[in-house]
């Protein structure tokens, strides 16, 4: 694994290696192969948990962290991102984590950058969020042992969700039984895009589910596109304790990439009870998974 851009292009073996290494870190491994290497966090879009998670992961590995806050600067030209990254490389940066609102921008810039800096996709547009998918996978394995033939239901704004896409791409590799549930205006533009099952009705979708992954309702987008407001969404798709109890499997786990809109896509009560705690564990696992990602990508990299 050279870079982490899109989970689609990462082998099962590499994924399992990351999971196993994350497990070691979680059980207390202190040994880092990437001490004193330098990581730049370039977040052109708001993010709390992903940025903090990478920062803490890097710190725990003994890395130097450069933290950009770029959420207010606009970047319209790929070549200027290229220039920034090439400069960072010559300043001694070994890897960059990029979060950006444009899908594919890392693919674009990678084609232009001539130097061997490592790229980690911290979430690009509506394309991919591979580290999130890896930490979700890690959490699922921890809770239910395997995803093979497990019913995993992703609910909400799937068409605009990089989390959903990366999860689908990862879970497909491990033969999970993937179901999507969304109103028509939030479904993928084409049912052929992914090999998954589609539902309009949330009860039908979560029947017997082992994992229910709730996505964030993106209110700003709904405003812009003229979709019905979030209360219309809530009426039909809000996940609460009763719904899970009644329809999902007994050992169902609830996941959410965060930040959650309480009482819109998921009830506040559910978030605060025992089931909802998985979401916090997801965030915690994120640190170990990102340690594993950074350690894996950078351990053979030469010092500049």
């Amino acid at each position: 694994m050279e870079h982490l851009i899109d989970i689609k292009n990462i082998s099962k073996e590499d994924i399992l290696n990351i999971v196993n290494l994350a497990k070691e870190f979680k059980s207390g491994r202190k040994n880092s192969d990437v001490e004193k290497k330098t990581l730049a966090l370039m977040f052109y879009e708001n993010s709390t948990r992903t940025r903090c998670s990478f920062e803490i992961a890097g710190q725990k590995l003994g890395m130097n962290i450069i933290n950009f806050d770029l959420s207010h600067s606009s970047l319209s030209k790929g070549e200027s991102l290229k220039d920034t990254i090439e400069n960072l490389y010559f300043l001694g940066v070994n890897a960059v984590v990029i979060r950006h609102s444009l899908s594919g921008i890392i693919n674009n810039v990678m084609r232009l950058v001539k130097y061997p800096i490592k790229f980690v996709n911290g979430g690009d547009g509506t394309h991919a969020h591979p580290s999130q998918a890896l930490l979700d996978f890690y959490t699922m394995l921890e809770k239910i042992g395997t995803v093979e033939n497990k019913k995993i239901v992703i609910i909400g704004d799937v068409s605009h969700s990089r989390v959903a896409k990366s999860n689908i791409n990862l879970l497909s590799k491990f033969n999970a039984d993937i179901h999507l549930c969304a109103p028509s205006y939030l479904e993928f533009e084409s049912f052929d895009a992914f090999n998954v099952k589609y539902h309009k009705d949330v009860k039908e979708a979560i029947a017997g589910a082992n994992v229910v992954m709730v996505l964030r309702v993106q209110n700003e987008r709904h405003e812009k596109e003229g979709y019905p407001d979030s209360l219309e969404y809530k009426r039909l798709y809000e996940i609460d304790t009763d719904l899970l109890k009644k329809y999902a499997s007994n050992d169902v786990i609830l996941m959410h990439p965060g930040p959650a809109n309480r009482n819109i896509e998921v009830s506040s009560e559910l978030l605060d009870n025992r089931v909802g705690k998985t979401i916090l564990e997801q965030a915690q696992n994120g640190v170990y998974v990102r340690m594993a990602i950074l350690n894996t990508l950078l351990k053979q990299g030469k010092e500049v």
Partner: protein, 423 residues
């Protein structure tokens, strides 16, 4: 000058025979087998094909206003390199070609470069807005050939109806960029499985066919003569096919990328594949090809839409739409339509020559005939070559076909008897 031993293909008369052509003072003087050599310069074209000079009824030369992308000079040199003897530049320059001054300017610039047939297509409306029809007769009397807001649709149907009636009354046509902007809004590539996977905003296929359907109703209502530019979808082809069956006076063109590439070819968010209309599905490609086969689509135009390499390296969302077309158009058509057996050579050449000439009423273009200007293209049907965009005469040295192996290409462009060797 005597062109000897070439296979002459002239679709207007369905002529396909090895013959000689004698050119004197830029005029075709004699066509026949074994013409006697007088004191002419002799060019032996054994094994080559001579066709009427290729005509491109849809291109963008970017001057005035965007000369970093292309100039009239580089555009014309690129067209000649592609085998073209006549071109029709679109009006979306800066200033727009919606007035006599700009029209005269571009015609004079073209004359400085060569004698290529230069037939500007002027804007339908002032400033390409939805407000006011241009001064049609004045522009036609000074070199305009047709009218189009290409790059943008005309979506005010009242304006379109009045413009069509008026332009038709002056024996000219509208070439339509059919697009519903509310559906196209902000889209990057075709809406479908690829856009969903890549997380790119899609341009639905009905963006085009909806506009085609709406415009066909206008054409029907006023019994107008109307041309559809760059047709890319199955439904558009079906709608135009039906309209022709119903007797409507409509014609249509497509561009080589719509029968050569699909959305599945878009790799790695590379903006060199970004074009409007977008690359569609396999199904659309097949329908476009069938439209070419049954005559629903009358001609092939390049929609040569150059941009700087810098712009095409931008993130795909920010990069402009357009593909350089002149220097690959004929070769793509020969490779993907003729050598695959989908279209006979005669029919293909028709779509590059007499068909656009008839649509636009061009004089001296598209037909090999005694006493006509010698506007001819010499073609090697079987030469295999690899596209090298860095060698384009166009300023746009980036192409989705860069590095692709093609079979067949133009070898010589002859404009009013003047020889331009290609390659």
């Amino acid at each position: 000058m005597l062109l000897k031993n070439a296979r002459i293909i002239n679709p207007k008369t369905n002529f396909d025979k090895i013959s000689d052509i004698r050119i004197e003072n830029g005029i075709i003087k004699e066509i026949g087998v074994d013409l006697t050599v007088k004191d002419d310069e002799v060019i032996d074209l054994t094994g080559k094909i001579i066709t009427p000079g290729l005509i491109d009824m849809h291109c963008h030369l970017r001057e005035p206003g965007f000369t970093a992308k292309e100039t009239i000079k580089t555009g014309i040199l690129s067209a000649i390199e592609g085998g073209y003897t006549a071109i029709c530049p679109m009006a979306n320059t800066n200033p727009f070609v919606d007035n006599l001054t700009t029209l005269t300017y571009i015609i004079n610039r073209a004359k400085e470069v060569s004698d290529i047939g230069f037939y500007p297509i002027c804007a339908v409306t002032k400033g390409l807005t939805e407000e006011k029809i241009v001064n049609v007769s004045e522009l036609l009397d000074n070199g305009a050939i047709a009218f189009s807001n290409d790059g943008k649709p005309v979506e005010n149907m009242h304006l379109l109806k009045e413009a069509l009636k008026y332009i038709n009354s002056h024996n000219s046509i509208i070439s339509s960029h059919s697009e519903d902007s509310s559906l196209a809004n902000g889209g990057v590539i075709n809406e479908g499985k690829v856009s969903a996977r890549l997380g790119l905003k899609g341009i639905p296929s009905i963006t085009e066919s909806l506009a085609v359907a709406r415009e066909l109703e206008v054409v029907r209502a006023v019994n107008g003569r109307y041309h559809f530019a760059h047709i890319s979808t199955k439904r558009s082809v079906e709608l135009i096919r039906q309209a022709k069956k119903d007797g409507l006076k409509v014609t249509a063109e497509t561009a080589p990328h719509y029968f050569s590439l699909t959305e599945d070819d878009i790799i790695d968010y590379d903006a060199k594949y970004k074009v409007n209309p977008p690359l569609r599905t396999k199904e659309d490609l097949i329908a476009v090809t069938e439209g070419l086969q049954d005559g629903t689509i009358d001609c092939i135009a390049t929609d040569h839409a150059p941009h700087t390499v810098h712009e095409k390296l931008l993130p795909i969302q920010n990069a402009p739409m357009g593909i350089a077309g002149f220097e690959t158009a004929l070769a793509l058509a020969l490779t993907n339509l003729v050598h695959t057996g989908k279209l006979p050579l005669m029919e293909l050449i028709r779509k590059f020559t007499i068909a656009p000439s008839d649509i636009l009423n061009l004089k001296n273009q598209g037909n090999i005939e005694i006493n006509n200007e010698a506007n001819l293209t010499v073609i090697d049907l079987n030469e295999e070559w690899i596209v090298n965009a860095s060698k384009f005469k166009s300023k746009c040295r980036i192409s989705p076909f860069d590095g692709v192996k093609l079979k067949g290409r133009p070898k010589i462009t002859i404009i009013k008897g003047k020889i331009y060797n290609i390659g």
